[in-house]
Subunit: 176 residues, 2 copies
């Protein structure tokens, strides 16, 4: 709550490092030693802030949920409208939020809390989409397209024309 080194608190630097490693190589390489090294903290220092790896995951997920709430707000009053905003941010924009999202999905493979967090975020977006359209079928379909975009992106096989294709199809439905 007081000591700073560069700009961010050590605590946040550790969480950032954890997310980066998760994004780059999955949970296998995101060991405590690797996280500590990346955050330029000793392992002991890391353990001072987060008593266990589990606690670190919890903290990362808490931060992500908070960022998620902010994202839903931005989506609601985005100038392009919620749909375009949602679709455009479904592909990795390099933001801290995206990084956290990808990190969480890496962990989700064997962590229930991460799955729950992801589900909670998805529910938030769906609510905005459903309210905007007043049509659950359309809202769900757009959300699925967003999930597909996101999946392709994180699995490393996104086609750069995908977003254009989707916009084209949604235009035919007057759903943009």
């Amino acid at each position: 709550m007081s000591a700073r080194t560069d700009g961010a608190s050590t605590r946040d630097r550790i969480l950032d490092a954890f997310e980066m490693l998760l994004v780059e190589g999955g949970s296998r390489i995101a060991t405590l030693d690797a996280v500590a090294a990346r955050a330029e903290v000793s392992k002991g220092g890391l353990l001072y802030h987060f008593p266990s790896k589990d606690a670190m995951v919890d903290a990362m997920l808490d931060r992500l949920r908070e960022q998620g709430r902010a994202d839903v707000d931005k989506m609601k009053d985005a100038s392009q409208g919620p749909v375009r905003y949602y679709l455009e941010t479904s592909v990795d924009t390099g933001s801290a939020f995206d990084r956290g999202l990808i990190a969480a999905s890496r962990v989700a493979q064997d962590d229930t809390r991460a799955r729950e967090t992801l589900a909670e975020l998805r529910n938030g977006w769906f609510a905005v989409l459903a309210e905007h359209y007043g049509d659950d079928a359309l809202a769900r379909t757009v959300q699925l397209i967003g999930d597909g975009l996101y999946f392709d992106d994180t699995t490393g096989l996104a086609h750069k024309r995908s977003l254009d294709h989707v916009r084209d199809v949604l235009a035919r439905l007057d759903a943009l």
Copy 2:
């Protein structure tokens, strides 16, 4: 290629056990010991068939690619047409192929070969979709929806009405 115990060969039983463990708990719990136990084979017996874990992954991926080729064929001459077939099989039907697909995506997190295999399978489906529609935008969008369905399913948060919603929207586009 000859010895049977129950119905399947020991080799296939091992691969099945490996996939099951991958689906249930990700690569962390799919250890050689756990696979051997699930397949009711000794660890030595497992290593007799697959000299290393890497070799086991390769074999699993090979089997999956073969099943994938068969699936593309089934998709081409499915009575419901390729789109319905593709969509319906994007949600887990409990088939061996689905299980293999989920298993591969679990491994894909830190395995290039698995990512390549998944990409190859996706290309096969896209080709059928694109040929059917003669419209890349629509084909890509349907594929993204399929990816979304699949993603939701494997992340454990599928809504059972999703498929109906998608069918509804595609009907509005005369794309079913």
